[in-house]
Symmetry: C3
Subunit: 291 residues, 3 copies
Amino acid sequence: MKDKRTENRSGLLVFMSDFGLSERFVASMKGVALDVDCGLQIHDLTHLIEPYNVWEASLTLAGTMAYWPRNTVFVAVVDPGVGTDRKSVVLRTKSGHFVVTPDNGTLTFVAEQFGVAELREIDESVNRRPGSEAAHTFHGRDVYAYTGARLAAGAITFEQVGPVLQRDVVRLPYQAAKRVSQTVIQGAIIRIEKPFGNIESNIPKALFDEFGVDIGQGREFRIEIKHNGAQVYDHVVPYVKSFGYVAAGEALLYPDSIQLMGLALSRGNFAETHHIQAGPEWTLTITKYQN
Amino acid sequence: MKDKRTENRSGLLVFMSDFGLSERFVASMKGVALDVDCGLQIHDLTHLIEPYNVWEASLTLAGTMAYWPRNTVFVAVVDPGVGTDRKSVVLRTKSGHFVVTPDNGTLTFVAEQFGVAELREIDESVNRRPGSEAAHTFHGRDVYAYTGARLAAGAITFEQVGPVLQRDVVRLPYQAAKRVSQTVIQGAIIRIEKPFGNIESNIPKALFDEFGVDIGQGREFRIEIKHNGAQVYDHVVPYVKSFGYVAAGEALLYPDSIQLMGLALSRGNFAETHHIQAGPEWTLTITKYQN
Amino acid sequence: MKDKRTENRSGLLVFMSDFGLSERFVASMKGVALDVDCGLQIHDLTHLIEPYNVWEASLTLAGTMAYWPRNTVFVAVVDPGVGTDRKSVVLRTKSGHFVVTPDNGTLTFVAEQFGVAELREIDESVNRRPGSEAAHTFHGRDVYAYTGARLAAGAITFEQVGPVLQRDVVRLPYQAAKRVSQTVIQGAIIRIEKPFGNIESNIPKALFDEFGVDIGQGREFRIEIKHNGAQVYDHVVPYVKSFGYVAAGEALLYPDSIQLMGLALSRGNFAETHHIQAGPEWTLTITKYQN
């Protein structure tokens, strides 16, 4: 089967995990993949997802996939439930990418941004590393890397992954961004961008643009940040294109590189300076002045 | 010589070191290797071995190699004695892998798990980067990366590395795991798995299986951990397949992904919670109850 | 244009940045590059440059390039002024390497060590990722990775990058190493080598050799380190080839792996032990004894 290559072969395999970079885990997955097909091109998304943080995994994966060629196979392993009954799946997105992962919420933002073309459960009776039956704690190596490699190599077709799951992917709950009034938009802080400490909200630039303010106008907006309802930050901040448009140390509101509204300190660290973190309990409010 | 490829050519070169990821060191080694043959496939095992920690290097290397194809060349550089008289060697294991390294203990667990097929000393009069004669502190780049690349590229055969060494590899001393009585097994804590904080002992599942207890039975065992003989941990822990089989925060005893007995807290960090570290002065005792 | 390959094609693309390893940034750049040409070989120099530290970026890049094949394309993105009027450029060095970067000082040590063959400004009207016009904060992905990939792939020639800039690269100011008297050399501490804590000065071994002292002679030198003129360290240190030539914990003076004079503690951390940092305000004086 190894030598009969299917048309889905991309040769591109990208790993993401919370395994860190100091242990044998990541290299073991890569060895398994290259043993399937030593011609695979293997890349890392990141292995520094906070341990067990499926939310962060989902956001990071969804924020990267658009830049990779169609048919790229992503193997995403943040798997606090390894060895239990969460399902092991492969998602084909409407954008033509594949994600091999435990279906534990990791696909939340992937499904939202790229759409679900088809979801299949991995049939471990055929798609599991031979000889690994006694190991129950490292599906990243024995199931996900192995299956991802075979798919990327064209050793199996997507159909050969296993049966179609006739249900949606598992999705984490979270508050959507919304326009509250003519002059107010509210959203959540979904991420702190390390190492810079920039704040990323889930407010799309398209929603912000309903204010009718162009980026070159030098307009300012009131920014409020609350943690479980308690005010943590309340300042008026200029809306500009990029960090260099304000003085070092000054705050700015800007559309970030994936077109979500962000906050930063030019050459500084907004999150550390103002003790801001990310998650559903952190809200961000943008208020338009009549200036 | 560069263009005459030998049958040992795998094209696969894997680096491990304690050089960290923030400096020019790792990329310099890779540049040297690609200058030997720009068609090599280069991968990282890890570069975050604790500085000078040959024990950790040996364990990490030995825990990874089995998953890589035959003929893969590993370049392992944790080299506190660089520039002194420790020998630079290439080991061919009985499993058909190659390790290029200072012979300073790094091969301890590799030799134990994969067997010594042949050990050769690197002849630096031919296997040293041309022009590097004045540098004495970076054999990783000038000797090991260069020689490893030439071997992986098939520019030299294993025999052309240098003369056979008619002795064993240098081995670090450590206490083997042993059955003390019908109901007691003792071993050492050899590693804390970062970032999860799981405990890895040197007790093989095969030795544990002499207790005659199957993993699905829901049996519990008494676990004692001592540091230089002083008790640090003493609890009864269930023996299960994986983290998800106990509640979040609960301890478990399990066979880890390389079939050594491990301890973990489900979704927690065992080592941090109980202040456990790894090394020969840390012992682990497993006692079988008559339950 | 993608399929018409130019003779500058090397296929080798090396990324350096201050983006860290935990976010989507690095993988987004790589995806863009592989979407240009999925046959590119992509490597990392480091992504752990201290945020915004152009000095460190320049030193790290210049210390690595010599080991890479001619025509390798380096994409170096430490870009505190992203979105402002610093120029985006590609440098062709006299050594035949290419560097794609904001011209903000990153090229300082590259130009000094490898020479400027030609400097061209990136014409973003053609060399910018299609569809990225609305993004202003991630030129690493949209301009530098895209242009670097096209150059490495041979999709464009160096001439097609954009017009020649008839000026020097932007250079950071710094104090050169100099011989002060028959017995005294002075220089700056340019870098602390992580994770070992070795001190790297900007004093070339060639300048030190004017003392007429051979490395095997067992000679000692007085080393003074000052911070803004205040003495921080003053000891007599042996001049040896490498760490293993002195006892563990002892200091040594040695020519480092890129032939600059360095200071280290054997199996220890000189910088941490003596609270030394790097930068233009840290000076190092070496005095020759009449012993």
